[in-house]
Amino acid sequence: MAIVYQRSKGLTDVETHYCPGCTHGIIHRLVAETLEELDILGKTIGVAPVGCSVFAYDYFNCDMQEAAHGRAPAVATGIKRVLPDKVVFTYQGDGDLAAIGTGEITHAAMRGENITTIFVNNAIYGMTGGQMAPTTLVGQRATTAPLGREKSHAGSPIRIAELLATLDGAAYIERVTVTSPANVMRAKRAIRKAFELQLEGRGFTMIEVLSTCPTNWGLTPVKALEWLNENMIPVFPLGVYKDITKEEA
């Protein structure tokens, strides 16, 4: 019998702790498949964040470091500067990257640090139980914004892809999502391109992936996908924000 689908070699056989319907699992798989297809699993070092994907070091089948909250880009910088021929990626959520770690991600991008960041944006703090994130939509409820995020009080969501795309050191920045098979394929292509550019030594690459949190959004997995499409994409438009290969053409 022919095998048409199986676990990527890039993932361990550890059962993940993610909630039913959470899209972290899909995103993990896309990263893992990419590492396997590019045949770089044995030369890759990943950096896990603090947040829902804190245990990512148990799931990716490559060397891993667990960073302090928000510091993954600094940790990745340390690794990459010591081992410039290896592939280094960070996997970070929106609390980790867009709140406590804005300094580290911005300066890693500014330096053109030759690493890849997978930025999973689900507009909420998942691990700690649904608190307001910097990416929470105006009006969206959170346990620290029980009546919904108020612009006059907490401002508007931060658009990291657009922000980092202004930096010369950024080689490739794209925002994708995984709400449909077509979107998953697009996300895969984006992730692959980011790692390929890292292998070419082109500089900082980041793929922002809009992701669902059915548990803390209080929605079923299917409704959560719909909510993302209807509410998040208008605020966080999908697309390529920086592509150094196009600029050169």
């Binding site: 361990t12 699993l41 044995g42 030369k43 890759t44 070092i45 950096v47 804190v54 245990f55 070091y57 148990d58 990716f60 089948n61 490559c62 060397d63 891993m64 470091q65 667990e66 960073a67 302090a68 510091r71 600094a74 940790v75 990745a76 910088t77 340390g78 690794i79 990459k80 500067r81 010591v82 081992l83 290896k86 300094g103 580290e104 911005t106 300066h107």
Partner: protein, 355 residues
Amino acid sequence: MAKELWKGNEAIAEAAIRAGCRCYFGYPITPQSEIPEYMSLHMPKAGGVFLQSESEIAAINMVYGASGAGARVMTSSSSPGVSLKQEGISYMCGAELPGVIVNVMRGGPGLGTIQPAQGDYFQATRGGGNGDYRLIVFAPANIQEVVDLMQEAFELADQYRMPVMMLLDGMIGQMMEPIEWKKPPVSPDDLPAKPWATTGTKEGRAPNIINSLFIDPEACNVHNQRLEEKYRRVIENEQRYETNDTDGAEVIFVAYGTPARLARAAAGLLEKEGIKAGVFRPVTVWPYPYEALHEVAIQDSVKVVVTVEMSTGQMVDDVRIGVNGVKPVSFIGQAGGVIPTPREVANAALKALGR
């Protein structure tokens, strides 16, 4: 070998390179900026990595990543900057990563002053970060000792897989002294292998994981107990101290760093006045040489133990633990960049003696 005149901060940077360190991350702050300045020129020449980070927080986390990738790595800062590094230091202890952190202390609290002080003793020896952890803390008193200890600092960090702090006051960092390079330079190629480092599996071994998270309470307790066992081995094997004229002394000064030199001068003043005084100088302030201090203090000749610090009194707590009530312990100190004079130190001893 001929002696060379070196500034403390530059000497410690050069000593690190000679100790096989090929990786430096740091952020400018007075009075230690000569360290990153020196590194920016000389580390690349040695084939190493120099990077000026966006903050001290980023610097210590770069150290974390580089150390986890197997490099002999360091950072340096001064008091307010070292406060920012405490998170990373705690994580390095939790993840059992070696590395050397230099603190060229200035006056505090807060922004304090840029002048020399020793107000970070508690932070260095008790830990400013979260959780049960310890650092090996060297407190050199002259530039020769700074360079002599640097290689040992890196070796102990690797041996025990824990960060080591070089705790200097700003005086040691800023002054110049003649020194000798006694030890031959270490080549990074000759350093012991680090099979635990994340250097890529080459798909030939199970992944290595650098981590300080142990979510299960039992597992976290086991981890803590294992760290504690390691710290006990450090306490047993790594205490360093120096005594000067303590045998049969009436007055024992206890001081580290620059105040130890002032105490020597004060002992000389007392000697001229017919009072025999000696100096006990801890070289490691963690682990603290409690027993050695106790042995000195318990001598029949000793009437008083006088602690001298460039702070309002922090190490004096350890002196009291070491002396353990066998003799009276008093304190003389100035903070905020003011350095006590030898006469003031001698007078403090006379006062303690009731004269």
